[in-house]
C-alpha cells in the first residue's frame, strides 16, 4: 500500500504473549488525516495492534514510526511520543479521584506547564464540544458510561494530539449510549483528525472510515476502502466474518 504522507508507519511488527503470537508480521501505514477502522473477530490482535502504536504493548520485533519518531529507537522518549497520540479505552479509565474538568487539565498543566486558567478555559471548550460542559464539576462515578466516554475523548484531545486511537470505545456501553459517543467521533473525523479505531460498529466504519483493515489471527488479512470491503471482500475469512455479523 502506497502512502502520500504517512504519520504512522508500522513495519513487520511481531508481538508475543509468552508462546502466543498476537501479531505476525504486521505492516501498516496511516496517512495524516486518514481514518482507519480495524475490524476482525475477537482475539485477532486488533486491540494489541492499537496498543503497540503508543507503546502500551512494546513489540518484540519490527518497527513503528510515529510522525518521524521511531518508537523502537534506543533513546526515543516514549512519553513525548505518547503525548502526541491520544487514546480512548473501552473502559473509559477516567481518573476517579478527579472531577471532569481536572481530568482534562491534569496532563496539560503538569506536562506542558500550561497556566491553569488558560488550561481550564481551553478544556471547558473541549467539554462543550463533547456536550459535557454542564458536568465539569462532577466526578466520573456520577456519570453514565456514554458521558464518561465523551469526557475520556475530551481528555485525550486536551493534549492536542496529532493522532487519536480508539480501542473499542463503545463496547462497554449500553446500546442507547453508543450513538452519543459515535456522534462525537464522527465530528472529530470530519474535522480532519487522524484516527485509528477498533470497533464492532459496522455502520460507523462504513460511514467514517477511509480504509478498513481486517485482521485475523494476528495478521492483517485485507486492507480496502469501506465500499469495496463491505460489498465485495476478497479474502474468504473476511467474507465469513461479514456473513456472521451483518
Amino acid at each position: 500500500m502506497s502512502s502520500v504522507d504517512p504519520i504512522i508507519t508500522i513495519r513487520h511488527a511481531n508481538k508475543f504473549f509468552g508462546d502466543f503470537q498476537a501479531l505476525t508480521d504486521v505492516s501498516l501505514h496511516i496517512d495524516r488525516g486518514e481514518k482507519v477502522v480495524i475490524i476482525g473477530p475477537s482475539g485477532s490482535g486488533k486491540s494489541t495492534l492499537l496498543r503497540t502504536i503508543n507503546y502500551l504493548e512494546p513489540i518484540d520485533s519490527g518497527e513503528i514510526i510515529i510522525d518521524g519518531h521511531a518508537l523502537t529507537a534506543p533513546n526515543q522518549d516514549i512519553n513525548q511520543v505518547r503525548a502526541e497520540v491520544g487514546m480512548v479505552f473501552q473502559s473509559f479509565n477516567l481518573f476517579r479521584h478527579k472531577n471532569v474538568l481536572d481530568n482534562l487539565t491534569l496532563a496539560p498543566i503538569k506536562l506542558k506547564k500550561e497556566p491553569r486558567a488558560q488550561a481550564e478555559t481551553r478544556c471547558m471548550e473541549l467539554l462543550r464540544k463533547v456536550g459535557m460542559d454542564d458536568k465539569a464539576k462532577s466526578y466520573p462515578i456520577q456519570l453514565s458510561g456514554g458521558q464518561q466516554q465523551r469526557v475520556a475523548i475530551a481528555r485525550a484531545l486536551a493534549m492536542t494530539p496529532k493522532i487519536m486511537l480508539f480501542d473499542e470505545p463503545t463496547s462497554a456501553l449500553d446500546p442507547e449510549m453508543i450513538g452519543e459517543v459515535l456522534e462525537v467521533m464522527t465530528v472529530l473525523a470530519l474535522e480532519g483528525m487522524t484516527m485509528a479505531v477498533v470497533t464492532h460498529e459496522m455502520g460507523f466504519a462504513r460511514e467514517v472510515a477511509d480504509t478498513i483493515v481486517f485482521m485475523d489471527e494476528g495478521q492483517i488479512v485485507e486492507t480496502a476502502a469501506p465500499e469495496q470491503f463491505f460489498t465485495n471482500p476478497k479474502n474468504p475469512r473476511a467474507q465469513r466474518f461479514l456473513e456472521q455479523i451483518l
Partner: protein
Amino acid sequence: MESEKKTIDIGDGAAIPNPDDPGLFTAWRIAFFGTLGIIAYLLIVHPDPYLEIIKFLPDGIVVTFKVTIASICLALVLGLVAGLGRISHNRAYNLIASTYIEVIRGIPLLVQLFYIYFALGRIVKVPDMIAAIIAMGICYGAYMGEVFRAGIKSIDQGQTEASLSLGFNRTQTMRYVVLPQAWRTILPPVGNEFIALLKDTSLVSIIAVSDILRRGREYASESFLYFETYTLIALIYLTITLILSKLLSIMESRVSHYEQR
C-alpha cells in the same frame, strides 16, 4: 476482583468501628463508656491511691504519643519506599525492598528493639528515645510496605494506562494518578497499624524510655501497688486506642464520602 481488593482490610490494632457493622459499633460504645465509667468510679470512690497514680502518668502519655507519631512518620516513609520497591521493575530495588520486608517481619519487635538499641550504641551514642523511634519505624515500615503494595495493586491497571497514554512517565503516574487513589484503600489498614504501633510502644519502656508503662512501673515499684497501677494503665491504653479507632472511622467515612460525592 472486587472481593480481592478488600482483603487488605485487616489489622491487629483495635477494630475500627464501622457504621455498617452495628455489632462492632455497639461493642465500641460499651467498651468506651465502660472504660470511662470505671476510671471515673476508681478516681471518685478510691481517690487514694488512684488519684495519686494518675498524677504520675501524664509525662508518660506524652512520651508514648511522641514515640508513636515519630515512629509512624518514619514507618510511612519507609513503607512507601519499600512498597514501591516491591512492585518495581528495577530488580535491585525490588530485591532490596523484598529482603528488608522479609527479614524485618521475621524478627520479633522486642528483639529488634534490643538489637538496634545496643548495635547503635556501639557506633554512636543516641538518646534512648531516638533509638526507640528508629527501631519502631524500621519494624513498622516493613509492615507498611506490604500495605502500600496491596493498596497500589488494588488500583485498576486502566488508570495507569490512561495516564501513560497522556504522556506521563511511570513516576508521574504514580504520583498524580495511582497514589492519590491508593491512599483511600490504604487508609484503614494504615490506621490499624497506627493503633497497633501505639500499643507496641509499651515495649520501649524496656530500653529506658519513660512511656506510660515505665512511669507506671516506677510508681508501682516504690508504692508496691502493682495491681492498682496496672489496672489504671490498661484502662488508659484502652481509652486512647478506642478514641483513635473512632477518629479513624470518622476520617475513613469522610474519604469514601468524597469518592461518591
